[in-house]
Symmetry: C2
Subunit: 383 residues, 2 copies
């Protein structure tokens, strides 16, 4: 039985993507492959809503985060890093490993951050600011738009981890002044895991060219230069089959239309939140910062979160995620990103309701589904 991955990555692969993946490998220095890479890169510009070059590296999103740091900063550079959960903390670890003088601005788990708070923590010495768009461990988003607009003209580099948002939530590198947006293939972009994609501003490129930080595989200048060649190439052997599969996935987003994709995610987020609330459950994240791609739900007193997850998989074939670290057993996380439809969200709500009832939790039967269905039918709140 193929299980449904309502997890925040990897997410289910569309059949077209699976088909493209399961093919004989192409040599990466052929014209045929160069055509694939050219189409993928142009498609990635579309989904990143940018004219900046978007490079494809063979690595996980964590590798992409390391690449962003290694190119924009030098050891000793002071940066302000906002952490609102596990993945903010991971970016902090990367900065420390890379020798930066990093100040961590801790945001309460379940909340996001806006421009005012970031500005109030700047000392004037920072070379850059790093923010997680959508914190996967808490399902809270930060307002990367106002932060970026407030940082414009300061000369600082602004790096955004959009690993669990890009392709499902609006991101606009130029308008929002983001020097590097990092994402990975296996979340809202519906591609198999194994690639990280980064949009790189001219300003970041110019700084990277003068930067002597220790990097080779993560050299974004080399990656951009190879991508600009005719025909385009990568400096090193890419994960060819994943690149071919990713082209299919990105084409699906192009066909649906990026604004429609964002709207679908917004609608699914609303359905999930209103649905679980109608079941009498409480959201983990402050709704002011609600994510469109992921919903975290507090597990009611007396019920074991791991048990909920186990039964959802066992009885309904639906895989959802638990909480990280101190939240283990205390929250469940339902992802609705990528190749996921409103119908999948309804099925998940139904499965959750039945699971809770099975565990002895009284639930107002059918209410969650009715609420979610209404949102689906009316199209949800427009952006």
């Amino acid at each position: 039985m193929n299980k449904r991955l309502m997890t925040p990555g990897p997410t289910p692969l569309p059949p077209q993507v699976i088909k493209a993946l399961g093919q004989q490998v192409l040599h990466h220095r052929t014209k045929e492959y160069a055509d694939v890479l050219a189409s993928l890169s142009s498609g990635l510009k579309y989904v990143f809503a940018t004219d900046y070059p978007v490079v494809t590296l063979t690595a996980s999103g964590t590798g992409g985060m390391e690449a962003a740091v290694a190119n924009c900063f030098r050891p000793g550079d002071r940066v302000l890093l906002v952490s609102a959960g596990v993945f903010g903390d991971r970016f902090y670890d990367i900065c420390r490993c890379m020798g930066l003088n990093v100040t961590k601005l801790d945001v309460s788990w379940g909340k996001g951050i806006g421009a005012a708070e970031v500005l109030s923590h700047l000392t004037g010495d920072e070379k850059g600011v790093i923010v997680t768009h959508n914190e996967t461990s808490t399902a809270a988003r930060s307002d990367i738009e106002t932060i970026g607009k407030a940082l414009k003209g300061t000369g600082m580099f602004y790096i955004v981890d959009a690993v669990s948002s890009l392709g499902g939530m609006e991101v606009r590198p130029e308008d929002w002044g983001i020097d590097i947006v990092v994402t990975s293939s296996q979340k809202a972009l519906m591609c198999p895991p194994g690639l990280t994609f980064l949009s790189v501003s001219q300003r970041a490129m110019e700084a990277a060219r003068k930067n002597t930080s220790r990097r080779h595989y993560w050299d974004l200048c080399k990656a951009v230069d190879f991508l600009s060649k005719q025909p385009p190439q990568h400096p090193f052997t890419p994960a060819v089959n994943i690149v071919m599969a990713s082209l299919e996935a990105v084409s699906l987003i192009q066909k649906e239309g990026l604004e429609n994709v964002w709207q679908r995610h917004k609608r699914m987020g609303e359905m999930a939140r209103e649905g679980v609330k109608a079941m009498g459950l409480e959201l983990f994240a402050d709704e002011k910062y609600a994510s469109d791609t992921l919903t975290a739900v507090k597990v009611p007193e007396g019920i074991d979160g791991q048990e909920v997850i186990g039964r959802m998989e066992e009885d309904f074939g639906i895989i959802i995620a638990g909480g990280n670290r101190s939240l283990k057993g205390k929250i469940i996380r339902i992802a609705h990103m990528g190749y996921i439809s409103e119908g999948d969200v309804l099925d998940t709500l139904k499965a959750l309701e039945e699971t809770l009832v099975g565990l002895g939790r009284p639930v107002d039967a059918g209410k969650a589904l009715a609420v979610a269905k209404t949102i689906m039918d009316t199209g949800g709140t427009k952006q």
Copy 2:
């Protein structure tokens, strides 16, 4: 038409591998995936002929080379690097990017190196020695066994780039004293590109734990520690589909038997070399250092190497490689590694013969095939 990749990576994927690749993605924190990873890691120990842990990182072989350097050495450390071609030079670039004080020992292209020459270039200050086993740009191998045995007990770290040899040529990490063997998925191992595999000695692990070099994604201690967990994991999201495909590929090697696989490559190498010589062509690499996985052939005076390659692909669907850098147009490289049989080598020789005749080069018709067939039938020189 599916073309035959007689190139030194990517190499053709067996049908079982393609099938495993083209499946719905698994979540990487499930038991099902952990079972795959456990089997792959145990299979990799078999093909690496080692009891050291073999870690799987999502990156190309170049990334694996960077990881080896970042874990064994610190900026300023002195190392001796042997370069016998383009990929030795790449390892040199990596060492320089990582801040090492690196002495490059240049070996004439087409030749390899043994223990005596390496020892004679050591000053006593070196923290390590780095050697390319099989130089993909020239088809010459170095004698990594005698070098490793000579370095035993010196306290130096010995790193071997076995990217285009491992799985096709004998490598023995413990016996030969190799601290880190780096390879990548898409060469003799018959896996899709996108993964790099590294065997890591206890000594290298202990040093890496005390090493403060800047690395995060490349942290081999973390990779080994996660692999030792029950169930085994990766620190970061792996390229799940490629891992699943790689398990199939490694299983095929286990079924054939590693010694048989080495013997097949040795036989194919002999067939290719004797075959081209019987066509009146000259080998590029000194036969003393002949590779089992790859044969480089000088293009005869008056014939354009790129034309040979183009016709081989156009008329016979066989893709071979040209020369790198100054060798472009001057040599052709025929790979016989991975999912390649003696029959593929015969077909390639036949296609090359016909191509040369078509380009006006007189060739003793059928002689190459006869010579190669004899080697195939008699099993070639035993190891």
